[in-house]
Subunit: 434 residues, 2 copies
């Protein structure tokens, strides 16, 4: 009995060491180890909740992990600032917080000089306000400018807002068609803009393909057509260098709950170039955007500077957490963050080519890292159920209809070993679907 | 030297015991003590941060104190839910949070059946969305209905929004003039509405005078004129009983950082009566208001029910704290809360009549408690500098131009002894200004 069982075991299921030797990811193990060992940002991973667990997180571009210190920051705020200072907190610090944190994001993440960035509302509401402001200014300057340009595959909010604003303001939508794995390039934009263009809304990094647009060039093309550009930075801010002032950008909006780890539903940021502060006004006229907030005067006069783009009471509690990640970004520097981000996605592509391509998985992101942001999308007809399998085994990517597995690699909190483990699990899950 | 000094001291400044005996607030001490002893909600005060200090807080209607458990709730959320569940939190709980907490506020605070209340955005943004929705619906039904009615002394955001929307939509503003210490009553509203009225925007409790409007009657008058009513409940929700369904209200919006203690800048709530869900749409078309959020389809189709009034990603982190106060409100019941609120303001008026009226302080709030919300405004030409003196001595009221000291008495966290101490300090500060 014992010898037969031993015999059968040996042949029907090889011992662990020989089974492992057939794992196609083995050749990448030494590489992952070496990349982690050489990573100057490796130690930052331990700053995040959950770094000590075996969970693989491939969705830091949807909701970033919290730094460990954030729990304490929020608890302390409740007791000491909100509970201790009460309404005095507004005079002492909170009224300036949208500008103070905005300026920090401007300086550390956006390449924006002080006085041009605020934290407020949601991405959707800020995009609405700035699209309305830009359309109103351009069409007032030239009544023929009634077109808003947007990409057909842009994030739903961006498209829905443009549709709604066009309908309510009597403007027209000009759609830019985009190929899979691509985004808006210079030729496509040149073909879309002209003397009727008022505003161009573009995503710096495509939420779907990860395509990284050439923002400087597309901004120049927009300006050459006499229009204003509004950049959606949701998928780039905090992982890709952004240089709004140098690029001559007019307007930008972005998320703080992705690479800036502001927490679920944290408020957004908006940038308006200083040259537009006197001429742009937005439609949601609340007390916080008025020239003298506490005079509570008889009629609305927009404040000078960025305050005019505020509407309601600043969401203080919700804008605290992102400061912990700004500390880390300022320590690391956005150049080093981008270097690691590129190394992470390059490694992911090599592993995918090695172990996923043979299974029929294809790349739906640009292969050239100069055209790619911080995430990679992999396609396969079974990706919906693959995602469910992965989630059940604590490997957490995002899924995008109809067949996209989105691998978001937050540079501050992701290790190369994590990338390899996760993609190995993707291979197992794809195999299990066959 | 010693005897002369002693002698001079005795005559120029009486010994402490005899000085105290002239304090005009002494007759009220026994009353404050008795009222606190008989207060069925007295023990709830200890649930709040700072209840153990000597600070007098008269501004719970501007920013409510945090419950002590809120610090722990937020810290735990960061570590366990955000950090532990990561993006899975959206599927597991967060997507429903705007509706779940909204329904709780509806049930416990607003007299609203489930499915009609959400948490989202700021008060300003929600008022904008619902005003736009109501104006669009009414003027589509009857192109002659192009008037928005609002009170001249309403909160700045309300007036500014109405002005802005009227300008952008080609509507007209009809202003209701209101006397000091009053608000909009039936006669004034009847004179303002008619066949051209589309929407009436009214505050349930005036931020300035504390006037409590007869919401049932004013809603009926609005409906008789064929218009929709939008109630601003910022200064009533959580302190005054509200019965939206029974009153037949169409729309309502309110703050959660006042009597609901959601924290500085916490998101607002909106109520839309179910009969309007199919016909009202709002202009800020974001992905969270779309019929199928994750289908990310080619064009915006508004979701059924209250989801269509969402725009951006729900502000999860910022809507957590209010749940701790909802626990307390549900324990106490809104009827007992209102009873205590009335007792607090009645006591404040008696003390004010006794010790502040002789100093030239006048009442700028209704004297009849049936017409008064949870705060009382006291006028005196020196109130601006009186407020500065009070803040410096840890007595924290609010100041409203030109001469109003606003005494907000949050029923869950304010004691009668605190009212007396605070008004005694007001008397001292007014005297010091003479």
């Amino acid at each position: 009995m014992i010898s037969r069982a031993g015999c059968r075991t040996r042949w029907s299921s090889p011992p662990r060491s020989s089974r492992v030797s057939t794992d196609p990811s083995i050749p990448f193990r030494a590489e992952a180890h070496a990349l982690d060992a050489a990573d100057p940002l490796a130690a930052l991973r331990d700053a995040f909740v959950g770094a000590e667990t075996s969970l693989v997180y491939f969705d830091g571009n949807s909701l970033g992990r919290p730094p460990r210190v954030t729990a304490e920051r929020l608890g302390d705020f409740v007791t000491a600032e909100w509970g201790g200072r009460l309404i005095r907190g507004w005079d002492e610090a909170w009224m300036e917080l949208p500008f103070r944190i905005g300026d920090r994001i401007g300086r550390s993440v956006l390449g924006a000089a002080a006085g041009q960035t605020i934290i407020a509302d949601s991405t959707t509401v800020l995009l609405y306000k700035l699209l309305r402001a830009a359309l109103a200014e351009r069409s007032a300057a030239d009544p023929e400018r009634v077109e808003i340009v947007v990409a057909r595959d842009d994030f739903p909010t961006d498209r829905y807002l443009v549709e709604g604003i066009a309908a309510e303001r009597g403007a027209r939508v000009v759609w830019i068609e985009v190929d899979t794995a691509r985004g808006v390039d210079a030729d496509r934009l040149r073909a879309a803009v002209g003397p009727h263009t008022a505003v161009v809304l573009l995503s710096h990094v495509s939420y779907r393909s990860g395509y990284l647009a050439d923002a400087a060039t597309l901004t120049r093309i927009t300006h050459d057509a006499g229009a204003l550009v509004l950049w959606d930075l949701c998928h780039s801010a905090g992982s890709v260098p952004v240089d709004l002032d140098a690029w001559g950008v007019d307007l930008a909006v972005g998320c703080t709950y992705k690479y800036l780890n502001g927490g679920p539903g944290s408020p957004a940021f908006a940038y308006v170039a200083e040259r537009h502060h006197a001429t742009l006004t937005q439609p949601i006229q609340g007390w916080m955007g008025a020239a003298d907030v506490f005079a509570m005067g008889p009629e609305y006069r927009p404040a000078a500077g960025m305050r005019r783009f505020l509407s309601g009471t600043p969401p203080v509690l919700a804008m605290l957490a992102m400061q912990d990640t700004l500390d880390l970004i300022e320590d690391a520097g956005i150049t080093a963050i981008r270097e690691k981000s590129v190394a992470l996605t390059e490694f992911a592509l090599r592993v995918s080519d090695g172990i996923l391509s043979p299974l029929g998985v294809t790349l739906a992101s640009p292969r050239d890292s100069g055209e790619r942001g911080g995430h990679v999308t992999l396609s396969h007809p079974a990706m919906r159920s693959v995602t469910a399998r992965l989630w059940a085994s604590d490997v957490i990517p995002d899924y995008r209809d109809p067949d996209g597995l989105r691998i978001g690699l937050a540079p501050l909190s992701t290790s190369f070993a994590e990338v390899l483990t996760g993609l190995g699990a993707v291979a197992d899950a794809v195999r299990a679907e066959h």
